[in-house]
Symmetry: C2
Subunit: 305 residues, 2 copies
């Protein structure tokens, strides 16, 4: 791995060196490193690009890092990763993708991640997307995340698009059985002429299942964002979705949530708000000595924290 790739790795996975525990590093479409542990196996797929991450039942307190970096301009990378998380496991999975595009061609990474979360298992999934490079070629990432949750399993997703991603079409689909819980926290920032679409569908199929989908986003300059969230209550369940968005400059933001109760005992709530930063918030910070730009930056960073 070269210096640009190491730098991307730090941005998307917080890695300054090789991580401890299980990991698989993909650089420019090739395997750049892998480690497995007694409890976590990683196997390359034979029929298509991608890996199977197999976590033994009962595995506790282990991490899996699976970062992807793309530094070759014009590379079109596509992977299928399956996560088989055994019953009662408790693990953290850190994914992330960084693209450095110094050329004129579009660089693109698309990933289809499918999680099979076993009975009573607990997963924390962290994903960061980041783009950079002064070439005119676009940096594109289209992640699809499919989540299948067994009884009493728990999953928490933290997904962040830091900056520099020119176009993204994010799809997240989940099906929850009895007692399963899914918590999603998404943070998105777009600037320049970027476009981001994010679309959630959660099917609450089991009694006692619940979900909380929270999206916070900032659209600057001429960028545009579309937020779609669909929660289907098909059992005794509770669902909440929330979209808070800050609009700046000439940006455009649409929020289209959808809640459907197909069961008497489904309790579903949605909230959405779009607005600019309140003027008095900026003035307050400016009286403390910040410039207007610094004040805005501080407010946005607090909002997306």
């Amino acid at each position: 791995m070269d210096e640009i790739q190491m730098d991307l790795l730090e941005k998307v996975a917080g890695l300054h060196e090789l991580p401890t525990g299980a990991y698989n590093i993909r650089a420019n479409g090739e395997k750049a490193g892998r480690n497995v542990t007694d409890n976590i196996d990683i196997v390359s797929k034979e029929d298509k690009p991608g890996i199977d991450i197999i976590i033994k039942p009962g595995t506790k307190n282990e991490n899996v890092h699976i970062p992807v970096v793309v530094s070759e301009s014009g590379l079109q990378d596509m992977v299928y990763n399956d996560f088989l998380i055994g019953e009662g496991a408790d693990v953290t999975i850190i994914a992330g993708c960084g693209i450095h595009n110094g050329g004129d061609e579009e660089s693109r990474h698309d990933g289809i991640h499918t999680f099979y979360v076993g009975k009573g298992a607990k997963v924390k999934y962290v994903e960061k997307h980041y783009g950079e490079g002064d070439g005119s070629g676009a940096r594109v990432m289209n992640p699809t995340t499919i989540v299948k949750m067994e009884e009493d399993s728990h999953m928490e997703m933290e997904t962040t698009q830091i900056k520099g991603v020119d176009s993204t079409d994010r799809i997240t689909e989940a099906v929850l059985k009895e007692g399963a819980t899914l918590v999603i926290n998404e943070k998105l920032m777009t600037h320049g002429k970027q476009y981001a679409k994010t679309s959630f569908q959660v099917d609450l199929d089991g009694d006692g299942s619940s979900t909380n989908v929270v999206s916070r986003s900032v659209a600057k300059d001429d960028s545009s964002q579309l937020f779609l969230a669909k929660i289907n209550g098909n059992a005794r369940c509770s669902g909440h979705s929330e979209c808070d968005a800050i609009i700046m400059g000439n940006a455009r933001i649409s929020a289209i949530p959808e809640i459907t109760a197909n069961n008497l005992d489904a309790s579903l709530i949605h909230e959405a708000a779009i607005g600019k930063i309140a003027g008095d918030q900026i003035i307050k910070l400016m009286t403390l000595g910040l410039t207007e730009e610094e004040a805005e930056a501080q407010i946005i960073s607090g909002f997306l924290k």
Copy 2:
């Protein structure tokens, strides 16, 4: 007008006798009565069924009643009514439609109402829909309401579907200029195998324009409801929409609101909640001596008030 028609008239317009002021009563597709005043003229359209209601600028504190009753089974009635509301007028318009269907064929009334609300005018629009009759024929009403609001005009819509409407597809579209305000309060109840779809689109085109769209609905038995609300903020404006729904029995309810900010100074909020009546509310009323059914009826009536 016969007894059934008079009874429908009372249900949808609260009229026991002919109203004072301007009115136009339509019964089974024909004009059954009309009155005009110095300030309010009502003229039958020549090219299609329907009327023009012409309200002079500056008209104050006058009412217009335009109820429709259908008691002939199998009647398919369609009207186009235009409301030309002069600058600075302040009027109340009471519409409503009652269908009594004692036969086996579908009875249907569709109305396309277009409001041209002049500069600074103030309109209150009240509309009630009601169906009855023990025939197996369906009672269908599809109202379309188009609202064009000039500078600083104000409109308040109160629409209620009381009961007995088997199928409805309600469309409301509004465009607001500078300083215009639109307040919508919708109340819907469906039962049996009824279906109700209600769809709002409000374009906030003018600086200082605002809207508040509030829908409260109850779906009982095997009925289903679909709520769509779209608010586009195209200027310095504020928009709020809210859908509160109570689900009972095997009913289904979907809420799909949409807010889009196309302008930095658009401030948009949406809220939606679907759930059943809280058990402790029912128990509280039952301890006061009500049966479970009476308790439910009381809670629903309070919710839809």
